[in-house]
């Protein structure tokens, strides 16, 4: 059998159901990897030995009894430490919550537990999900497994690294402005930011409520669809979670891309790094060979994305972080780190009397224009392909003293959050040994189509097989 950390969910699930491996053996193997790697990578804040082994024991019993189980049964997963996990410490990457032990599970965690997935750890993150590099964690930065001196991307840094380095087979993350897609791109894994409202946010510590999306990382596109099958769908605890029906996201995934129209938004390529541009256009050529037609499209308000986002997001952050007062749980407000403080100040200012109309309301007007841009483009094409990041994974420390430069790392990702549309980030190659990803963006609730396109491309390239040596 191959190394367990090279497995996909699909392969591991087959091994479990055909009784070639026990869930307890699998959990044990991943826990060992997690413990072994964590000094080097710092991808996990808490490793959950007992929770994982107990769940695995239960799965082995169910398999022995011949029960039909979800493909995620017995699969070792990581959970961003922003998701409430009952009886397991949940820090949000911040000293404010360093001793906080939730008394309930987030809906997505609850659904994963019911599907009998095994939580091996709570993953590291930029505190409160504020950051593009993972360096804002109060528990220390996470390292990129492809180059330990570089950032893994943030804010779901530990989740991406856990999947990339093989301490889990899937990991949950959140994406408010790129926090899943950027680390997915920097770590050679598949990351989904679903449509706003596709997955319940209940129990996930809120960052900016009109933008927050719950998604996940996997090695392959097929695996990614398996996880969305469990997490998607209506939830009585989250009124922003849509009642739109969910699909079986793996169904038709192998249908191919013949006759689909792919849009290339010129604004994303104009001043793009030539090497990154080259890789993405090469990927588009591969899809053309598989039968898609390619068309230029325009998203004219793209250049206002980051400015719009950096008004709306800190405003909502300041409001959401107002609840941390040290009375009901957690520590007092002076324990917030620099980035959270910066955003609270900025957001409080942009929402304050006399400034609200000029900042927040103005941004919500431009946001409508950005959403309209996508709606117009999707009248012409089925999906859009564009870069995830303007740069390769950067060096640790490179941008920490210049918040504005750090914020601009999200230039190609914030627009999907502002528009609410889904985006799938998938690996599309390497430059100088460092991973590069691209986004496949579609209309509201088109996750199934995104998987179809991603799957077709992945069959041609299989970049996930190029594993980091740690």
């Amino acid at each position: 059998m191959k190394n367990v950390s090279d497995l996909t969910i699909r392969e591991a699930s087959d091994l479990l159901s055909s009784k070639q491996i026990k869930a307890q053996e699998l959990a044990q193997a991943f826990l060992e990897i997690a413990h072994g790697q964590n000094k080097k990578l710092n991808s996990l804040i808490t490793i959950c030995d007992d929770a994982a082994l107990n769940q695995a024991k239960k799965v082995d019993k169910l398999i022995a009894n011949g029960q039909k189980l979800n493909p995620l049964a017995g699969i070792p997963i990581g959970i961003k430490d922003l998701f409430s996990t009952k009886n397991i410490r949940t820090t949000a990457g911040s000293k404010v919550l360093e001793n906080y032990i939730p008394v309930y599970d987030a809906t997505s965690v609850d659904r994963l537990n019911n599907a009998n997935a095994c939580v091996v750890g709570k993953t590291n993150l930029d505190a409160w999900a504020h950051g593009s590099s993972g360096e804002n964690s109060d528990f220390g930065p996470t390292n990129n497994p492809y180059d330990l001196l570089r950032v893994p991307g943030g804010s779901s840094s530990g989740s991406a690294v856990s999947v990339a380095s093989g301490s889990s087979l899937a990991a949950m993350g959140t994406d408010t402005g790129g926090s899943i897609r950027l680390p997915a791109s920097f770590c050679n894994v598949v990351g989904l930011k679903p449509s706003y409202g596709r997955v319940s946010r209940y129990g996930v510590i809120a960052m900016a409520s009109s933008l927050d999306c719950i998604g996940h990382f996997t090695k392959t596109v097929y695996d990614n669809a398996l996880v969305l099958n469990v997490t998607a769908g209506e939830d009585g605890f989250d009124s922003t979670c849509t009642v739109q029906k969910t699909d079986d996201y793996t169904k038709d995934i192998e249908n191919g891309v013949k006759n689909l129209k792919i849009g290339i938004p010129k604004e994303y390529f104009e001043s793009l790094d030539q090497k990154i541009k080259g890789l993405i256009l090469e990927a588009v050529k591969k899809l053309e060979k598989l039968g898609v037609t390619v068309e230029d499209v325009s998203l004219p308000n793209t250049e206002y994305g980051v400015a719009t986002y950096y008004i709306i997001q800190p405003s909502e952050v300041s409001s959401n972080l107002a609840r941390y007062d040290g009375v009901r749980f957690g520590k007092t407000r002076e324990k917030f780190g620099s980035e959270a403080k910066r955003r609270i100040i900025l957001g409080t200012y942009t929402l304050s009397a006399g400034y609200y109309d000029a900042y927040y309301l103005k941004a919500m007007r431009v946001r409508r224009l950005i959403r309209n841009d996508f709606a117009e483009a999707f009248k012409k094409v089925d999906v859009i392909i564009c870069p995830v990041s303007p740069t390769l994974p950067f060096k640790l420390g490179e941008k920490v003293n210049d918040p504005l430069q750090m914020y601009l790392a999200d230039i190609f990702t914030v627009t999907a959050n502002l528009a609410g549309v889904p985006s799938l980030a998938i690996p599309c190659g390497f430059i100088d040994g460092l991973p590069v990803g691209m986004q496949i963006v579609g209309p509201d609730f088109s996750e199934k189509l995104l998987y179809q396109v991603g799957y077709a491309y992945e069959q041609e390239t299989k970049w996930y097989r190029r594993r980091p040596s740690i």
Binding site: T240, A307, R333, L346
Partner: protein
């Protein structure tokens, strides 16, 4: 505090950190005040870019997926016990959260 109705005139303005930190109930050190003032000035000049966009006839977007008036059935269901709700509280008293006095005793 200055009240300018246009973003343009504020672009060069600096956040009144003392006032805003009071509004946000967020204690800051002197070092943080100085640093944030500079860094947030950069961010504000960057976001002033939005002045280039004519939004006179554009309605602000509210909810991104057009959901409205979502309610649940008005039925009781199990929720957190008092004990669970208090589990993470730093200070409790007789089954309640304990907070510092807001008004001084006369």
């Amino acid at each position: 505090m200055k009240k300018n109705s246009k973003l343009k005139t504020q672009a060069s303005s600096v956040i009144d950190i003392d006032y805003v930190s009071k509004l946000a109930n967020l204690p800051l050190s002197n070092k943080e005040r100085v640093l944030f003032e500079k860094q947030l000035k950069d961010v504000l000049s960057y976001v002033a870019k939005l002045n280039e966009v004519n939004t006179d006839k554009v309605e602000p977007i509210d909810h991104i997926v057009d959901l409205a008036n979502i309610t649940r059935v008005d039925e009781t269901s199990p929720s957190l016990s008092q004990e669970d709700a208090l589990k993470n509280a730093p200070k409790t008293y007789n089954g309640f959260f304990e907070v510092d006095a807001i008004f001084e005793e006369q």
